[in-house]
Amino acid sequence: MRDEFTRMALARAFGIQFTDKVSLEYGKYGWHVTEFIDKIFKLFENEEFRSRVTSLLRSEYPQGIPNLAEEWVEVRLKGLASEPTYGKIAIKLLKEIMRVGRARLEELERILSINRGILIELLKLLDLYKLIIKDYNENYRPAEDLRKYSAILERLEGVGT
């Protein structure tokens, strides 16, 4: 993604906009794909679907059909935890946001005694991994899928505790 050539090709093919923030252009294929992926996640969250397909494809999926939505949360959390500079402290912050349900910047600063500049960087990182949402009231909340599969965060032992 670092070189101009790759960015241009991605922008044209998928409608990815590279400004100060990377986003998807409405109505372009990349945007449609994210909508479709949401539907795929919903399908794979359906236990009946997984169990019926598992019984049909036992040899291809001996461990059973995975819950892709849950797997996606796990991938993001592991990615976050492995960030070299801020990984561990970001997980600690995320656990705190999970514990209190919602919190403003000042509250997090007071509870965790983290320098505001670093806290802002951490919140940006959590946002990048789509693990938190900032609401209209300037509160930071856990993303919906993280709340649903919060056990994965709890299982990240020795990180951020």
Binding site: A9, H32, K39, L43, N46, F49, R52
Partner: protein
Amino acid sequence: MLNFINALVNISPSRNIISQLILLLPKDLMVVRYSYPEVLSEEAKEFLDRCLGIEFNEIVKRRSNSFAESLYTHIHKLFDWLDSDEVRSDLAKLMGTHIMSIPNPYAEWARLVLKKLLERPEGDKILVFIRMLVEHGSFIVNREGYSRGAKRPDWQPFLNEVKRKIKANPAEFEDILRTVIGTSEETIDEGGTPRSSWIIYLKHSEYHLDLILSEHKTTWSGWSHWYDHIYRVRHRSTIKSILKELLGG
């Protein structure tokens, strides 16, 4: 990237029977029983109904807001996306591969459909109609408010010319029109400015070759207004090259 492309290709209707069934619904149960006997076992029906959202009554159809409905929508987006030379060229550059190795699900599907249509007794006529359609490119279906010198609607004269050329009787031609142009429409864009408004429909044909974009545009100035209804033919170069393979010339 290769995984991503392979995943998309594997759900395209030319390679996946579930996608194919979902794309072609609604259909009469008897037709589904004949064309897709493997999906009518109790176990398969229950899976398709409860997990994917396909309703099996006298008419087999997609349930609204179901996964089947999402897949149906996505297949159309995928068709349009990969039937673009620019997109396939960019993907080839990103993957460091030859453009010919980037699949085109629409072309694969169109090749299957056109071959199937050619097997019908009136197959030659249908394909000649499609060839004339893609060669023409766009049509004025209707227009109002223009002065005498303006270009006149040419859709009906075109149809008359096709009818004469393929020597189709009125009933046969109506069937051909239903197959090639389709009867159902889906709104894909609408909007306006203080002096104009437009709405664009995609016409869904029997096998979803979906060749026609139907554009309605009205423009106002003072007490005058102009209205245009235009058909634009899509996927022209893909269809042209497949027809060349099948019909020669």
